[in-house]
């Protein structure tokens, strides 16, 4: 039997005005287990707390009930008080007789009666309380960043800067991501490579950072502070440690007809290649599907010319297993496929391109060495039409596009239009827009400059149809302001394709038990207040995997995610919430109901040996809760058909005791 002490607070007149506190203290004295009951003006004051401590010692109290304000206010205070008096902090219960009693009821008899009942319920509950200790788990002081674009690079650099080791897993042969493909950045027009590649070099030279390029995450298990990750390092048929990146092999390889994905298929590369000059790591990779040697054993030119002896045709995929304390997702985005938009003739004409393709066409390292030439005939285009919102802001039922605004298109289209007019003043540039959205520092000024100084024709309306005819593209569109239909004979059409999360995001989210929205963007723990954390503890979000973002926003989010990771890795031990679920192995029948409802994947199953009364042993499947992962929602306790699962601090019998006390 517990020895319960009851402390009724006046809260000045806040409670005492509508609740007869003396009567409450007196009435609760008669409750079973109550050995001490008193009232005081301000329980939370130092004097009040000292009184509680003294009573705990004097009356050897094992449980404490405070009838006062909301537990959301002072539960932590009174738990500390109890702890300093030598009893477990979780042996304290609060009866909320201020917010939920004295403040909402007007007369003393009703208030007093309800306060007594609330007090009784708290006493009934505390009688069944058990001391709880928060679980501890160690923290592996190493972070994993999945994705090596600007988001991943910035996060890794910031974490490494704080002294923690970081691994970057990048599925492409080089880090750099989308930013490496971009020509110039808005609104300052500095060259993307000039600001990105030094960062890539920093990553390569940082001894705290390891890069697993051409690699993918294969499996994730464990929990915050203790993730076990399997990384598949795909065979690139080149020994990374030997390759010097001289590029001789990429010049001599006879297989010249390999679509160059870095230039979005607009030119060809060799079967052995280095994606671009500033690649990190600067190591060649063999495209196995195109390599003659790997396909039919006839060639071997690259091995012959390689002075470092780095070519290894027998290289196999390799699995690396590593432990991490925190995982940052930075999987980024891709433009959506334009295949389904028949009206824009993307499939019919080479001269209808996406904006990312336009970036490559204008990039000095791109397929045309930076000269803006039509992909079809290499001629200089005189009339260029930009179409915005292609696939963005569609109806939810529209299977071609996305419901959201892709956010970056207005700005990069203004950039493209401006740069085109700057470099080729003889061109006519039209931009069809629905709205021009430019919220951002210096963004609207940038857009206005494109219109006013560079003479880009902005037309409010949408392109309805593009018809390739001869070497022209007949663009039919509406001009909503002049209320007329216009026809333009264009030489080049650039579609501002909507962006979507990378395809690898969904399987990754499943591995991480991190949640996603219907568009496959990772959801944050709180949309306003915890924007860089996933609801899954220990998983953080960086960049466009969480929603469309431009570069400055991505970099600031990357830094924020890094600071959260540093905060986690700086701890030696993680203290858990002790109010977690626990299963009674003797009652569990291993049915998996609890596992299926757990939003955190905290429940696993174990085949455990039990000794039977007749001294035989029997192996049974029983549920096990990982206390470090469990957040204590209690969904499993209701799903459990055998009643084996219970929630510490809110046990079934505790809540039933409260129900009983209220209905008495």
């Amino acid at each position: 039997m517990q020895r319960v002490g009851v402390f009724v607070c006046w809260c000045g007149s806040n409670i005492a005005a509508t609740v007869d506190v003396k009567a409450v203290a007196e009435a609760l004295k008669a409750e079973p287990g109550v050995v001490f009951s008193t009232d005081y003006q301000y329980m939370c004051s130092q004097a009040g707390q000292d009184m509680i401590k003294e009573a705990i010692r004097e009356h050897q109290l094992t449980g404490v009930v405070i009838c006062s304000c909301s537990p959301r206010m002072h539960e932590a205070t009174f738990r500390k008080t109890a702890e300093s008096a030598g009893i477990n902090p979780y042996m304290v219960e609060i009866a909320n007789i201020r917010e939920q009693c004295s403040w909402v009821h007007k007369d003393i008899p009703t208030g007093t009666e309800k306060a007594i009942i609330l007090g009784r319920a708290a006493i009934a509950k505390v009688s069944l309380n058990a001391p709880l200790t928060p679980g501890e788990s160690p923290v592996t002081k190493r972070a994993l960043v999945i994705g090596g674009g600007i988001a991943g690079i910035q996060t890794a650099l910031d974490i490494a800067d704080a002294g923690f080791p970081v691994d970057i897993v990048e599925k492409k042969p080089t880090i750099g991501g989308k930013m490496a493909q971009i020509d110039k950045t808005f609104p300052t027009l500095d060259c993307a490579a000039c600001i990105l590649t030094p960062k890539m070099v920093d990553v390569a030279q940082n001894d705290k950072i390891r890069i697993f390029s051409y690699s993918e995450v294969e499996a994730v298990s464990g929990f915050v502070g203790n993730f076990d990750v399997k990384i598949k390092k795909k065979a690139r048929f080149v020994d990374e440690t030997k390759c010097t990146g001289c590029g001789l092999c990429t010049e001599k390889c006879p297989q010249k007809k390999v679509p160059n994905d870095f230039n979005l298929g607009m030119d060809m590369k060799r079967a052995i290649y280095i994606p671009f000059a500033q690649a990190v790591p600067k190591v060649a990779t063999i495209e196995a599907d195109y390599c003659n040697m790997l396909k039919n054993g006839k060639c071997g030119v690259c091995a012959k010319v390689c002075t470092a002896g780095a070519i290894d045709y027998k290289q196999q995929d390799e699995i690396i297993e590593e432990k991490y304390g925190a995982i940052v997702v930075a999987t980024g985005f891709n433009p959506i496929s334009m295949e389904k938009f028949d009206e824009f003739a993307y499939n019919q004409s080479k001269d209808v391109i996406t904006s990312l393709e336009f970036e490559r066409l204008t990039n000095a390292a791109g397929p045309t060495a930076g000269k803006l030439l039509r992909p079809s005939d290499g001629k200089h285009p005189e009339t260029i039409v930009f179409v915005q919102c292609v696939g963005s802001r569609c109806d939810a039922c529209n299977e071609k596009g996305k419901e959201y605004c892709s956010k970056i298109c207005c700005m990069y289209t203004a950039k493209h239009a401006m740069l085109t007019r700057d470099k080729y003043p003889d061109t006519d540039v039209y931009v069809f827009y629905i709205d021009v959205r430019t919220p951002g520092k210096n963004f609207d000024e940038f857009y206005r400059r494109a219109v006013e100084e560079y003479g880009v024709h902005y037309i409010k309306g949408m392109v309805g149809k593009i018809l390739p005819e001869g070497d022209k593209l007949k663009v039919r569109a509406s001009d909503l302001i002049e209320n007329k239909q216009i026809n333009i004979d264009a030489d080049l059409v650039v579609l501002a394709a909507a962006i979507e999360p990378d395809k690898s995001a969904r399987p990754l989210a499943t591995m991480l038990t991190a949640s996603m929205d219907t568009n496959d963007f990772f959801t944050e723990a709180h949309p306003k207040l915890r924007p860089v954390e996933s609801p899954t503890a220990g998983v953080f979000l960086s960049g466009a995997c969480q929603g469309p973002k431009d570069i400055p926003e991505t970099v600031s989010q990357a830094g924020a995610a890094a600071s959260k990771v540093i905060g986690l890795l700086a701890k030696d031990k993680l203290l858990g919430n002790p109010c977690v679920a626990g299963s009674d192995e003797m009652m569990c029948n291993g049915c998996s109901s609890c596992e299926r409802v757990c939003p955190y994947g905290a429940i696993s199953y174990l085949d455990k040996e039990f000794r039977m009364p007749d001294r035989t042993t029997k192996v049974r499947r029983v549920a096990q809760v990982n206390e470090a992962v469990c957040q204590g929602c209690g969904a499993c306790t209701v799903a459990c058909p055998s009643g084996a699962m219970d929630l510490k601090g809110f046990k079934n019998n505790q809540i039933l005791a409260e129900v009983d006390a209220i209905c008495r």
Partner: protein, 128 residues
């Protein structure tokens, strides 16, 4: 019938929610009859939504729509302007009573340049 009743009736007949329109103008950008029309597909959607339907009902534009459904196919918001035009047309017919043309009167009304598709689709729609 007052303005609001007509508007509600048109929305009911067409099954279209004009509020979904984001005013991009793709319907009008894509319309093959655009130059024939006094009011264009995007105006139909906007004017029905704002209740300004009288001018539409008295306009020839009603009969210029080919019902080719290019606007329906391409609308990013799934608004289906052709169905709205069709509903306005139906409202006009209902308000005026049975104003079907006699079939003998048709040939002399036909325009030389009228696309064949318009004649066929008109027959399909109005012969019932």
């Amino acid at each position: 019938m007052n303005k609001k009743a007509i508007r509600d009736e048109i929305i009911h007949i067409s099954g279209v929610n004009p509020k979904k329109c984001m005013k991009c103008g793709k319907c009008s950008g894509t319309c093959p009859s655009y130059n024939e029309m006094e009011y264009h597909p995007h105006q139909f959607v906007y004017m029905v939504e704002s209740g300004d339907i009288e001018p539409l009902m008295h306009s020839d534009s009603l009969y210029k729509c080919l019902s080719c459904f290019a606007c329906v196919e391409r609308c990013p918001r799934g608004v289906e302007p052709a169905k709205i035009i069709e509903a306005v047309r139906l409202m006009t017919v209902r308000q005026q009573g049975a104003n079907h043309l006699k079939s003998d009167a048709i040939p002399e009304l036909l325009d030389e340049n009228l696309p064949q598709q318009a004649i066929v689709s008109a027959m399909r729609k109005y012969s019932k």
